[in-house]
């Protein structure tokens, strides 16, 4: 007889792997990528390619330099690259995007121990770093469908939330909002494509629907009251900015959000409230990134308080503080 394998039980494993989860996320991001190329032209494809390539390269080099086993094959760096590019304006200079990738992969992810170990969402943190470092470039929004309209020069436009916030400019129609024909970061505009990807992730069991429902629901509800029960206002708040992208793809990141459903609800509602507060009361017209980062920081605390109660467990009564 051959040599026998000996292992601890169980002896069968589910076909789900980290790699195929990441592949599902990549697939889910593809509709929005295609939409962004249609809306903003080939430059969207270039920026995404640069981000993906530099994220993968940074992770590869980091692991080589610190002599850790390679983790590039788990595809998570590709996801980070895509998400980061989705959070950038299409005309952002390439070198800035590469700096963003460095922040995301090296500082936020790898230095904390790589996949699963980072406490903050790499793409979100990188976006915020870029936002604070290169504010002008990060808030220059290209005109949608410029290639189609024949406008050759980069014409700057405003985002819908910018319009609402400043009261200047014209709002795109709700249909345009849904299709993504509006100013904004390259991957956040096409709501229809993002929803398609989000639904795919839910159907594949990659993300729990509770997070986007609570996040978007909270923003919608608060806007509903703030806007004087105006459904149209709610629609702009929900479809504007990066809410849909953030709620489906970044607030559902495994590493940086609570592990239990109860925790996810608290996290998502927290994100919704902070997003609303920033949008309404702060200088920024947009608050999704900041809200997710703040809630990322609170995640260990939420996890602590939403720890599952074991079945049939007898929880000892607190015996004062004797120690």
């Amino acid at each position: 007889m051959n040599k026998l394998f000996v292992e601890a039980s169980p002896h069968i494993r589910s076909p789900r792997t980290t790699k195929n989860i990441m592949l599902d996320v990549i697939i889910a991001l593809c509709p929005a990528l295609v939409a962004s190329i249609v809306i903003f032209g080939y430059k969207a494809a270039v920026l995404t390619a640069v981000c993906v390539a530099s994220c993968v390269l940074f992770e590869f080099l980091f692991n080589k330099i610190v002599k850790k086993p390679g983790t590039v094959s788990d595809l998570s760096a590709i996801v980070t690259g895509m998400l980061l590019s989705f959070n950038l304006p299409v005309d952002l200079p390439i070198y800035m995007a590469v700096i963003g990738c460095f922040v995301a992969i090296v500082i936020v992810k790898c230095l904390f121990g790589g996949i699963g170990q980072n406490f903050a969402n790499p793409a979100i943190t990188a976006r915020i770093v870029l936002m604070l470092s290169f504010t002008a470039a990060m808030t220059t929004w290209a005109e949608p469908l410029a290639w189609f309209k024949g406008t050759t020069d980069a014409v700057s436009t405003a985002t819908p939330l910018g319009v609402i916030s400043s009261g200047e400019g014209t709002l795109p129609s709700l249909l345009d909002m849904l299709l993504g024909v509006r100013g904004g970061c390259l991957g956040e505009t096409c709501i229809a494509a993002l929803l398609l990807g989000g639904i795919y992730l839910i159907c594949r069991g990659v993300i729990r629907p509770i997070t986007p429902i609570c996040f978007i629901g909270t923003v919608a509800l608060l806007s509903f009251f703030k806007g004087g029960f105006d459904i149209e206002y709610v629609a702009y708040q929900v479809m504007g900015g990066g809410l849909i992208l953030g709620a489906f793809f970044m607030a559902t990141d495994y590493s940086t959000t609570p592990i239990t459903d109860k925790g996810k609800v608290i996290f998502a509602i927290g994100c919704g409230v902070i997003t609303f507060l920033i949008r309404e009361f702060a200088n920024y017209p947009e608050g999704v990134s900041f809200s997710i980062l703040v809630m990322n920081c609170l995640t260990p605390l939420i996890d602590r308080f939403t720890s599952a109660k074991p079945f049939g467990a007898i929880v000892p009564k607190k015996e004062g503080k004797k120690e």
Partner: protein, 432 residues
Amino acid sequence: MSKLHSVRLPHFSASAEQSTRKIPAPEVVAISMAQHIGAPCEPCIAVGDKVKIGQKIGDSEAFMSAPVHASISGVVKEIKDVMNVFGRLCKTVVIENDNKNEMFEGLEPPKCDTREDFIKAVRESGAIGLGGAGFPTHVKLGFDKNKVKIDYLLLNGAECEPYITSDYRELMENSDNVLAGIDLIMKKLEIPNAIIGIEEDKLAAIDKLTKLAVRYPNIKVQKLPGAYPQGAEKVLVHSLTGRVVQEGKLPSDVGCVVMNVSTAGFIYGYIKTGVPLVRRRITIDGNIVNNPANFFIPVGTLLHSIVGFADVRKQPDRIVLGGPMMGSCAFDPDTPLGKTNNAVLLFADTVEQTPTNCIRCGRCVRACAANLMPTELEQAFDARDVKELQRLKVNLCMNCGACSFVCPAKRNLAEKNQLAKDFLRAATAPKK
């Protein structure tokens, strides 16, 4: 009634519709004196003795113990220490087959007029739980009726592990005895109700038992969801009665006695014929087995007799004794099979899985029937954090393996939990 977490598993139940066959009589059997948890037996025969089927060859004075009987007729060749799959050395009686197939003369239906007689008879039969855990049956049935009031006898026919179909075959082939056994136990122990729980994928068994159970007004057949680990004792009690067995308690504390359907079937057979537990039904399956089916094997059959007999496409590189979720890997082809063994699974083309970083996806948390947090338990164990392990209640892990099964990073969470339990036991043991 809140629903417990569970996982959906592939069934691989190709062996289900084949009638149970016999394997060719093995030339030699090695019967371990430790067939179950609790105290091992002491051999009561000597090397050179001639033994016949059903003759008692080992017994013990201890409470948590059931005697062991010869499973073939022949000569005791030696009594030696053999390492079982858990790595423990156990005294083992090796019997060489004389191929005469003689039954021991003293076998006759036991006297069981009173409750005490009945429990004594069950002990003498060598009965232990045939589902896999192997708790001595007479201990389970011997509850103190002045202290606990048992109102349910729960029959475990969930058979929730993939591949294994031996309980299903018992339900299909021995249904009358199973029901009669249940009825007998209920009468002797004055238990008013019985529920047979069968997983929803075993429709034929549910139909058959439901039809036959019409004769017994107090025996009910209940369909269980096909969700692993449905057959775990606490989960079964919860599914069938809604009762919660608390930490450190037994089903009897909430008025239930849980027993495997095959055990009930066996007990009835024993009371009628007096033939003790000398053979059992096992499933032979696995990814290289051509005709998966169930077989009756004498207790103590050596693993290599099974492997040699099985119709396989190629040489196995991994042999699992028991189910793929909770069974153990055999490391020695000479391992003898015991009373608790319900399956031999032969696999080839095993790919070693390397664990990668936990991605905190929470699948293990949503898979755990005990509602534990396997990923946090792993961290606590890695840090050897006694307090945290206690807070997270690692002691409630039933080692069903669901957490490791679902883990996309292929981390060995269930294994870590077992190590953590041992660590915690050692760390909290009173210092000498």
